[in-house]
Amino acid sequence: MVTSLREAIGMGRDTLGELEHQTLLAALRLGDGAYTAPIVTELEERTGRAHTLAAVYIVLRRLEDKGLVRSSLEDTPGGRDRRYFGVTPAGLERLREARLAYENLWAGLDVLGERRS
């Protein structure tokens, strides 16, 4: 039985959504310091779009369910713990595929008036 629209129209269930894609990249950029709040800030500063903490948090947990990130609780100097997120090898692989797909699609296009190879 078909359980979702995405499945029904044949989108693989493991395609990266845009926010998932961007969240993975932001986590990657932050490296060891990647927990929810700085990821939100990073997304906002890099893309100019302000996502709510709730949205980003839900995306992170979904990525974790998919095995693309893993999380761990670590103590901070202030005495409270934080949930840090790190991109797994599977996550890195998925990012690489996505980038390749985009680059292939962009190859030779110049609709935006800029030279791309």
Partner: protein, 872 residues
């Protein structure tokens, strides 16, 4: 931890804590706080706050969808039904908005009135053992209260207070401030559970004569005049020229005996002052019932005490009849008794209005159900279960009800905010009124019930139709319209009836107010200014007479002033003096002395207020201290005690031992007191100069606007003695207006409800007629093609509409007659069966109905038969 100023607002944080995912709550909350602090520093508090709210809303939505996924099937279905209902209503925005506005107004008004009833009548008084507190009689003397305290077994504490504003002067640099002051017996505030902000309450010994004088301040005075000085206790302030030690401060919420009190003094008992102790009434008392005692049993006991009271009182012995008039009533009833009628009336009025609103929404939903009948029939034919269809229909009603209730709650809150300042001055316990959880819960229940009831009719109808026949008729059948019409017609008739009841009640009250306004008070208020002058209680009375003369001379010489007089009390003023009185010529039972109102006035009093002299003379400048003691009686007193003869030469005196006789020298016209509509009581006057008063009212008549004179009068009094404060400066007309203020407020609220009910009825009539015209366009076209004129068509529509309005108006009249019993107590000078109202209101409603029918009638008259024929 971060600086508290950088923390997000507590309410939103609290909400956030409810909706964060389990196990991650504290972590995410902390992260949000950090981000909030960063935003605060960068973008300022408004933007940071908006951002934070958005975060909370996002988590709330996430939590809602999470719990929906986890919720049982029925709950999910219910939410689904509501979402479906929301979508289907959003496709009919006119209907949705009209129904919501109607419900919001109906529920809002009901919630508002309920909050008044709840705060004033239902909720327990905010005192410990409130259900055991009783008010004991009205106006006993101090001596009698002492006897009651000693003898009554069913009362285990009896404490008195004076329910008049004593008004003391607080000295301050270069002048004096008059303070609203009450005298309370030590122990009264303890019994009522007062807890001072600082310091303590009065001690029993502090009321004894000759003790250090003490006072308790109100929080307002403490903050305004003493800068909320925490060291105030033990400090000495000067009241009426005498040093008083401050012993405590009561919080601003403390409103006993009167909400306006700024200061309290201990009520002392000096048995050696026989006159005031046994002769002057005016003391009120609060008592606590002993365990097991009921107000009725306490009343019995006090009545049995009556002979003892008469025996112990050396001055006068009221007849048993006098005692029987008063009794022991629960304190709550004593404090709120006289607003019961008005609140009950308003409650009934909003109930009627809510019914009308409910009928209106039901009418809207029925119209819509009929329009959608083919669709519903189609779905039923395709196999949709009846339960499912019914649920959808009821869900619409419930949704309208819930959203309407939310709107109503907002309206009620706003309404209360607007009314509160007025209420505070007009009704007891007004400070306790709020739109709180109870009121909101009631609004929610009213909303859902109203919504479901309104949706019930269309639901039942929707289930009854046979899908096959409906689909065959193809949405054009005349039968549908007729069936629907019966129900909506009944509803609209009910709305008209509701409007008539409310409009008639309002009209009766308004006519009563107008009648009261026309009542001649017996004196002239035109161009008269009144102001209170308070002498320090230490002032020497004989010195006061010099000051009186000074004030009258200076004020009388002001340009534009035509008369100036002083009086110890005036009609419609705050105080009245009433004494058991010996009247020598009348054959009076010495054990049943009448209480008669008496005023001390300066010679020009009668001329200034235009009170006519009927016989003898008014007071003159020779009627001063040391002269022969003289008095003037009014015509009612003359008629009552000297029937068929002249009272001139008669004698009259106060009750206390050694009180001198006054020789009657004149008869003047009677005046109204307190309420214009009430029967006038006997009254006598004595010269102010022979009986100086510590607090006097200045009345000044002028050719111009009285208020314009106020600054000059103030200056003139200050010239005589800068230490004399002038307070409550007001045109006389306003004092009289204030006595009817509560009826006026009730009338205004009622008028608002009546207008809404009338509008609802109007909408109902319009809706029915418009729908009928729409459904019968084809029929109308055919009739016109056969030669019917547009006037005939229009008048048919009108007559059809009036068939709703006339029975509705008749039913409404019947309802108004039923309401007369509620109203009768509030009416003065108008009969509850006032013919003008009985005839006028149905006429008015009829005119409104015709106005509502005008548009549909015009539309019917403009139907183009050719166009109709072409379409069909």
């Amino acid at each position: 931890m971060t600086d508290p100023r950088q923390r997000p607002p507590a309410l939103w944080s609290w909400l956030l804590a409810r909706v964060l995912p389990e196990g991650e709550g504290p972590r995410l909350a902390h992260e949000l706080e950090t981000l909030y602090a960063a935003r605060l520093a960068r973008y300022g508090s408004a933007k940071a706050l908006a951002w934070y709210r958005r975060q909370v809303v996002a988590f709330t939505l996430a939590a809602t969808s999470r719990s929906l996924v986890a919720a049982p099937r029925q709950a999910r279905a219910a939410v689904g039904d509501l979402l479906l209902a929301a979508r289907s209503l959003s496709r009919a925005p006119f209907l949705g908005v009209t129904a919501l506005a109607t419900l919001a107004i109906g529920i809002g008004a009901s919630a508002l009135v309920f909050s008044l009833v709840d705060g004033v009548l239902l909720r327990a008084l905010p005192y410990p053992d409130a259900d055991r507190l009783v008010a004991v009689w009205d106006h006993v003397t101090r001596g009698e209260l002492g006897v009651i305290r000693e003898e009554a077994r069913s009362l285990d504490a009896v404490r008195g207070y004076l329910d008049v504003d004593l008004g003391v002067n607080l000295e301050r640099d270069g002048g004096a401030q008059r303070l609203a002051t009450s005298l309370v017996e030590p122990g009264l505030f303890d019994m009522l559970g007062a807890s001072p902000l600082v310091g303590r309450l009065f001690l029993p010994e502090e009321a004894a004569p000759g003790r250090t004088e003490v006072t308790i301040l109100g929080e307002g005075l403490w903050r305004a005049r003493f800068g909320a000085d925490p060291e105030i206790v033990g400090r000495t302030i000067v009241l009426d020229g005498r040093a008083h030690e401050v012993v405590g401060v009561l919080p601003v919420e403390w409103t006993f005996p009167r909400p306006t009190d700024q200061l309290w003094l201990p009520l002392g008992w000096d048995p050696t002052q026989v006159g005031p102790f046994w002769g002057a009434g005016g003391v009120r008392a609060v008592a606590r019932l002993s365990s097991g005692a009921k107000p009725a049993s306490a009343q019995e006991e006090l009545r049995a005490l009556s002979p003892t009271l008469s025996r112990r009182n050396p001055l006068w012995s009221p007849s048993p009849d006098y005692r029987r008039q008063a009794g022991v009533v629960p304190l709550r009833d004593a404090l709120t008794g006289d607003v019961r009628g008005a609140l009950g009336l308003l409650l009934a009025a909003v109930a009627v209005m809510l019914l009308a609103a409910c009928a209106n929404v039901a009418g809207l939903l029925i119209t819509r159900a009929v329009d959608r009948q083919p669709l519903v029939a189609l779905r039923a034919a395709l196999g949709a279960g009846r339960a499912r269809l019914a649920r959808e229909s009821l869900a619409e009603g419930a949704l309208l009800g819930v959203v309407g209730a939310a709107g109503g709650a907002i309206l009620a809150r706003a309404g209360l905010a607007v009314l509160r300042p007025t209420l505070l001055a007009r009704i007891p316990r007004a400070s306790e009124i709020s739109v709180d959880g109870r009121v909101l819960a009631l609004a929610a229940v009213m909303g859902v019930v109203t919504g479901l009831v309104a949706a019930a009719a269309p639901t039942v109808r929707g289930l009854r139709g046979d899908p096959g026949s409906i689909l065959r008729e193809g949405g054009r059948g005349a039968g549908r319209g007729r069936r629907r019409a019966v129900l909506t017609r009944i509803l609209v008739t009910g709305q008209i009836a509701a409007a008539v009841v409310l409009v008639a009640s309002t009209a009766l009250l308004a006519r009563s107010l107008a009648a009261i306004g026309r009542t001649d008070p017996g004196f002239s208020t035109e161009g008269v200014l009144t102001a209170e002058v308070t002498f320090p209680s230490t002032a020497d009375p004989s010195a006061a007479t010099g000051t009186y003369a000074g004030i009258l001379e200076r004020v009388g010489a002001l340009p534009g002033v035509t008369g100036a007089a002083l009086a110890g009390s005036i009609p419609f003023g705050r105080r009245n003096e009433s004494y058991a009185t010996y009247v020598d010529e009348a054959d009076l039972d010495p054990n049943a002395l009448p209480m008669i109102d008496s005023d001390r006035v300066s010679p020009a009093y009668f001329a200034t207020l235009g009170i006519p002299l009927l016989e003898g003379r008014v007071f003159g400048s020779d009627d001063r201290a040391g002269g022969e003691r003289v008095a003037i009686v009014d015509e009612i007193m003359a008629r009552t005690y000297w029937p068929d003869q002249s009272p001139i030469g008669g004698r009259i005196r106060y009750p206390w031992v050694g009180a001198p006789w006054f020789q009657i020298v004149g008869v003047v016209g009677s005046v109204a007191d307190d309420r214009l509509g009430e029967e006038r009581r006997p009254r006598w006057y004595v010269p102010l100069d022979q009986n100086p008063a510590g607090e006097v009212v200045l009345v000044v008549s002028t050719e111009g606007v009285p208020t314009a004179l106020a600054p000059a009068v103030r200056a003139a009094v200050a010239e005589v003695d800068p230490g004399l404060p002038l307070s409550r400066v007001s045109p006389y007309g306003r004092l009289i207006g204030a006595s009817e203020a509560r009826t006026l407020l009730t009338t205004r609220l009622l008028a608002g409800f009546a207008v809404v009910a009338l509008l609802l009825g109007c909408l109902g009539v319009y809706g029915v007629a418009a729908q009928a015209v729409r459904e019968r366009t084809r029929e109308i076209g055919v009739r016109m093609a056969l030669g019917a004129g547009s006037n005939t068509i229009a008048s048919d529509v009108l007559i059809d509409g009036l068939r709703l309005a006339v029975p509705g108006a008749l039913a409404g009249l019947a309802g108004a007659l039923a309401a007369k019993r509620v109203l009768e107590g509030m009416l003065t000078g108008v009969r509850a069966l006032d013919p003008l109202v009985l005839a006028g209101v149905p006429l008015l409603v009829g005119i409104v109905a015709v106005a509502a029918l005008w548009l549909p009638a015009r539309r019917a008259a403009r139907v183009d038969p050719v166009e109709v024929m072409r379409r069909s």
